[in-house]
Symmetry: C2
Subunit: 334 residues, 2 copies
DNA sequence: CGGCTCCGTCGAAGCGTTTCAACAAGGTAG
DNA sequence: CTACCTTGTTGAAACGCTTCGACGGAGCCG
């Protein structure tokens, strides 16, 4: 491998000049610059990442901690990750992937100076990783909203507003008896913050609008979805609209409803909270509140970079929910 | 941050001794070792990854190139990734995530000495990345099977055998008219190697067994699945069994069949090729040939490590398919 | 024409490890 | 008692880059 000295020699300059051409931190004259650039091209030179990290205390790598256990919301996770990785590349950074359960990984990549910053997905309301993260010198951005951000930046969809929005939409369409098919019980038990926030928004808005609202947690399996639907139709048969916040259960909820002879949207309107592509991949195109996972991932990187660049303080950004009406809640005949 | 010199001072030894304690490359006496270990613990010392990489030309990082575009086979991808990351940790390595389309990324991480080796997913029959990879000095393992591995290691499910196995299973159950609901046309067009291999196995075994076999590519959308099913039932109404190799379309294929009044397995037997958890997440538990993505990911790391450790030559490993019978192809009444 | 400023380039000092050759100290053999 | 291994430890030289202070030369002003 060619080193910076090889390049310097080939270009007839000193190593530091090559470094400055590469970093742009000092002005280099046109002719010199092009000699250096040519030498770089000819030798196929790439700076050694380790050497660079050692000298500059910058690795140009971001750690991303993602929940890789399969099960819930694979699409959402993939889109987050895609957003993070591609946006990081825009800033000339790479992404080191950590699994959610690798608690030690935080300290490892951080104290070992492997990364410049961290992005952590799927933060729970009370999350042991948050204090850990807060004590590191690298900046971090949380995707999600813990009870106490401990001085870290956060970004997420405003799930509480999403819950309210879904309810308002159904209210406007004339519904007065609604239900929420929600996250799996164990997700709620973990106090995953998004599940609770959506639930809160759903409840408060329904109450404010004087609607009757029931809530049914739902396992992300066919059987779980069937059970939830069956329970719902039995205990609240007057229900005319559903909010579904459970990506994996969604198709099974729909098929169970159709098995019960409930037509969508004629007998029952449905609003889903999920990525747009999931909403469109259902038997009936779903009215949905988009979970803009890729955009959030990108935004997380923007926030990380802002903190790396300057003296930005930590900030929390909640994205306003957007509802797109599709066939599943369209008012069909007047 | 504490450095190795701090530790050395605290333990009353030289820096090299600390290094040797850490690496175990030389014998260190018991007392010395424990003094050093205690100093490390007290100072919370972590070696600086960059410095280490510079001095040893080893980063303990593996690059993983994964297709992050959402669409096909999200589950499969996630499981691969999970397998790779967790297994890499067993070898004290971390994973740097590259996107499929980041062609330049190969050269960047490789020439920049950011990683010790690479794992590349979703390799196509003729893949521009393969020659690129082959020209780097870091070892690489491909998940998939290109026409010309160019001296790289490969690992994958033996899709051709899987195709044959599915057909043999159906033959044994008495079926003589079968069909394959396959990958999306654009996947076949890309000559994604697994799609073609499964197809080949399916065709040759059907021919060998004297069965009539039709093939229908299928978009990974509800509409695509409906279209495929409709076409199939119209053009080959005598079909009594289906092989489905298309994770995203699977639920829609099933629901369309039921819409057409075909009951599973009584009117139509179905064998799916997909991860077990996907097979179990359908309305009817599917007889399936498992796509052991996580295991393949782990295996890829084992192979990478073998090559890093020694002088193992490149090898190709195809995993034998395993079929698990479930409700969707069970012979119900005699 | 002397003194200043500004511009572009350079030399050298780190950055924190690993690793090799060398070296004391103690043990064994002759 | 000397010569020679062994064993455990050390010092110093890389590894390849960034960055700071310095420096020579050109241009400007008075």
């Amino acid at each position: 491998m060619a080193t910076i000295d090889d390049v310097a020699r080939a270009a007839g300059v000193s190593a530091s000049t090559v470094s400055y051409v590469l970093s742009g931190k000092r002005k280099i004259s046109g002719p010199t610059r092009s000699r250096v650039e040519q030498a770089i091209a000819e030798l196929g030179y790439r700076p050694h990442a380790g050497a660079r990290a050692l000298a500059s205390s910058r690795t140009n790598v971001i750690a991303l901690m993602a929940p890789l256990r399969v099960g819930v919301d694979v699409h959402v996770i993939m889109q987050f990750v895609a957003g993070v990785v591609t946006r990081a590349r825009d800033f000339d950074h790479d992404v080191l992937l950590l699994t959610q359960d690798d608690l030690g990984g935080l300290d490892r990549v951080t104290s070992g100076s492997m990364v410049d910053a961290l992005v952590m997905m799927d933060v729970e309301a009370v999350d042991p990783r948050v204090p850990l993260l807060a004590s590191q010198r690298q900046p971090a951005v949380l995707i999600g909203l813990p009870q106490d951000p401990a001085g870290l930046s956060c970004v997420d969809l405003d799930f509480e507003a999403a819950g309210r929005l879904a309810v308002r939409h159904l209210f406007a369409a004339g519904h007065r008896d609604i239900a929420l098919v929600g996250s799996p019980p164990q997700v709620l038990d973990r106090h995953t913050s998004y599940a609770e926030r959506l639930l809160r928004g759903f409840r408060t808005q329904a109450e404010a609008s004087g609607m009757s609202a029931v809530v049914e947690p739902c396992e992300p399996t066919p059987a779980g979805a069937y059970r939830a639907v069956d329970t719902l139709l039995e205990q609240a048969p007057q229900t005319t609209a559903l909010v579904v916040h459970n990506e994996s259960a969604l198709p099974h909820v729909l098929s169970r409803l159709s098995r019960h002879g409930r037509r969508i949207p004629d007998d029952l309107a449905v609003v889903a909270v999920c990525p747009t592509d999931v909403a469109l991949a259902q038997a009936v195109p779903m009215t949905s509140i988009d979970l803009p996972a890729e955009a959030i991932g990108r935004l997380a990187i923007d926030m990380v970079m802002a903190r790396l660049a300057g003296d930005q303080p930590a900030e929390t950004r909640l994205l306003a929910p957007v509802l797109t009406e599709r066939a599943s809640s369209r008012v069909t005949a007047p």
